[in-house]
Each structure stands twice: as C-alpha cells, then as structure tokens.
Amino acid sequence: MPVVLVEGKGQGVATEHPEQPTPQVEDDRLVIAAQQGQRQPADDLVRRYLPRVYGLALRIMGNPHDAEDAAQEAMLRAMRFLSTYRPEGTFDRWVLKVAGNTCLDLLRRKRNLRVHALSHEQQAVLASAEPDPSEEVDRERLALVQKFLPRLPEQQRTVFVLFHYERRSLRDVAEMLDVPEGTVRSSLHRARGKLREWILQVQEGCCQ
C-alpha cells in the first residue's frame, strides 16, 4: 500500500501570473476602494469571502443555523470595521480572524447550547461540495472528519479548522486567536491524536 502524505506545505500562496493580479492584490484594491466609500467593491469583497467565512463557521459551530448566524455577523463586522484594516496583502487572514473570533464568542456566550453533531444530511452537504479536480478527495472520509469535529473542545476545534481547513500557519493561527504558538501546537496535537483514535475505532467498527 503506498504511503500517502499530505501534499503541499504552503499557505495556498497564489500563483504569480504576469497579467492577472494576485488575489491578495485584488483584495487590497477592493478594500481601498471600499474604504473610500465605494459600495460595489465592498459587495465584491463579501461575495469573495462569505463562502470561506461560512465554511469556517460551519466547521467550528457544528450546525448550519448557528453557522449562518456566525457567518452573517462576522462578515458584517468585518465590513463595518473595514477602515481599520491596513491593506498589506493579508485581508484573508484578517477576515478569517474576525470570523474565528466571532464563532468562539458565540460559542462562549451560548455555552448552554450544545454543539450538535451534524446530521447525515448536513454531512452530505459538506461532503458534496465540489473538490479541487486536481485532488482526489475521499468524501466518505471527509464526512467522517466532519462527524468527529463537534467532539473536540472549542479551542482545539477552532485551531484545527484554521490550520488544516484554512491552511494557515501556526503563527497565523496564534495571532488570529491571540494565544501563544505553543498553545496552537499542543491543541493541534491533541486534536489530531483524538482524530486518529476516532478513525481507527471507526475502522474497527467500534463506534460510528
């Protein structure tokens, strides 16, 4: 059996193209125009980032209703405070930071509401999204991870989602969540340790 390693170590850095601006440059162009009071560029930023913000929220919040609220709140907050962002090619990190903190805040304030495991239908929605055609993604395995995520404590889940789903660096995640890098690393190790145990147990038919 061939060993499969995770491919790519980068942060999804945009490919340079001589004629098209990179996504980061385009983001900043839109941000500057929006900061100057233009409405259309602000709308374009929302269109570009709401899917990512919603995806992040769904994985952290664990159910579509709370995710929808979190995504809406996060996106509106980001746009409301757009003037505080300094255009330096990191808008994606900035908006994800706002989204991650909005989710954590929601979870903290709604602690009495459990994070529900996704239903089969919700898992199917997540797993049915069209993957990058250059990558073979096992949807069943992806659904298994989605089912596992709500079992993690909030902090570990948020770190896991930002680091692996969003492919941010350890430093990025630490800055986003305002915690030491060592905390991010230990949260990741614990989360992956639990994920490994969970997958092995499922493979052995112990739990579903």
Binding site: M1, P2, V3, V4, L5, V6, E7, G8, K9, Q35, Q36, G37, R39, P41, V46, L50, P51, R52, Y54, G55, L58, E68, D69, A70, A71, Q72, E73, A74, M75, L76, R77, M79, F81, L82, S83, T84, N101, T102, D105, L106, R109, K110, L126, A129, P131, D132, E135, V137, D138, L142, L144, V145, H164, L170, L188, L195, R196, I199, L200, Q203
Partner: protein, 218 residues
C-alpha cells in the same frame, strides 16, 4: 537520517505541523513504507488530513449572501478599531437589530395608539449606550427574525417589531446616540457584565401584548 518507531508519533505531528524539511519528510515516508505497524497506525490520519486540506468550502445557504448585502453598512472610514479589538458581540439567531421599512411603520402605528401606557426604561448604569434586552414571545420573535423587512406583517409579528421599537425609543438616552437593542427568546439569560436588563421594558411589552391581543383577537 533514520526514523524509528518510537519517534513516529512526534515526527508525524511535526510533519502535520509543516515543520519537517524535505530530507526529514523522505525519512518519514521511508519508515512508513517499510513499517507495516506504523503505517497501519498513522496512514488513516494522514489521509484524513490530506482530504481536509483539500476540502472545498460548503455551498452557501440560499439567501445568506443577499441578507448580508442587504445589511451592509455604508462603506467608509467610520468604525472604531478599539471596538473591533474587543470581544465581538454575539450574533444570536433570534437577534433583531433594527426594525426597518414596514416594521417601523407598524411600530409607529402601535406606538401612536399605546405609547401613553408605556413607562420609559432608565438610562444604562454602565456608561455609553447599553444594549437593551427585550424578552418577547418566542413565536413572534421567530416570525420576525425570519422575515424582517420583507414578509407581510401581521398580528404578533407586528407586535414583536413594535416591542423592539418601543424598547429602543424608551431607552435611547440621546437622539444622536443609536441604542442597541437585543430581542431574544424568553429563556436567554444575558451575562451581567454584558447587558443591563431594564425592568420597565418587559412591562411595556406586556402592555403591548395585551393591547395587540385585544385588537387582533389573538
């Protein structure tokens, strides 16, 4: 550079942390190829993480983009960065921030009829403009949250909107300071340091509820 079984856990974690250089990755790969036990123990995790890192974002729920665009603030340099740095305010599903359009009309109509019976709430003790918590009938809030500004307004929905507007008007300390209003389910318990419940507002809402029930036969 060899990797031994007792090192595999740490190396896998370093690898997944993206902390291994090429040579270290090759050594790890070689060990996993040769060691059936380690491969069986860790390959499922590696495959799962690979899938996760290539997972596309889920499809947006219908209407979410439109709702966000509809509520977009006016762009421009107006926000206070200190507020963004502070922990963000919650986005409760049942929060209703503003009554607009038809809601305002309904509120104005109801206010014109019943305002004399409402006692305005006191100003906040925390300084600034505290969010006003208004607890109202769950059904009314849900209807309101589902269709604010777009759906036809009837009976109890109008009541909820009016209740929100009543609280807003009754607690706004100065006309130029927009008050924040949180309309929430009756079972929501706000934290003491976040909001300041106003005892007079539920009285006002109850008054409105009674009046609405009399008027509409609900």
């Amino acid at each position: 550079m060899n990797v031994h079984c007792h090192q595999i856990e740490a190396r896998i974690q370093q690898y997944l942390d993206r902390q291994l250089d090429d040579a270290q990755q090759q050594a790890l790969l070689l060990h996993l190829e040769l060691c059936e036990s380690c491969r069986a123990g860790y390959q499922p995790l590696l495959e799962a993480i690979r899938d996760v890192e290539h997972a596309p974002p889920p499809p947006l729920p219908p209407g979410l983009l439109d709702r966000v665009l509809l509520q977009m603030p006016v762009p421009g340099p107006s926000a206070d960065s200190a507020e963004l740095a502070a922990p963000p305010r919650p986005a409760f599903r049942r929060i209703v921030l503003w009554c607009s359009g038809m809601a305002a009309a309904a509120a104005a109509l109801l206010m014109a009829t019943w305002w004399p019976g409402i006692t305005p709430g006191p100003a906040g003790r925390l300084g600034g403009t505290p969010p006003q918590v208004v607890q109202v009938d769950p059904n009314a809030v849900m209807w309101l949250a589902a269709g604010v500004g777009t759906a036809p307004i009837h009976g109890r929905t109008a009541l909820a909107m009016a209740a929100g507007q009543a609280a807003l008007w009754s607690t706004r300390p100065h006309e130029h300071e927009p008050a924040r209003i949180v309309v929430c389910m009756a079972d929501f318990q706000p934290q003491a340091d976040e909001v300041l419940p106003m005892p007079h507002v539920p009285d006002a809402i109850q008054f409105l509820a009674n009046q609405a029930a009399l008027q509409s036969g609900l």
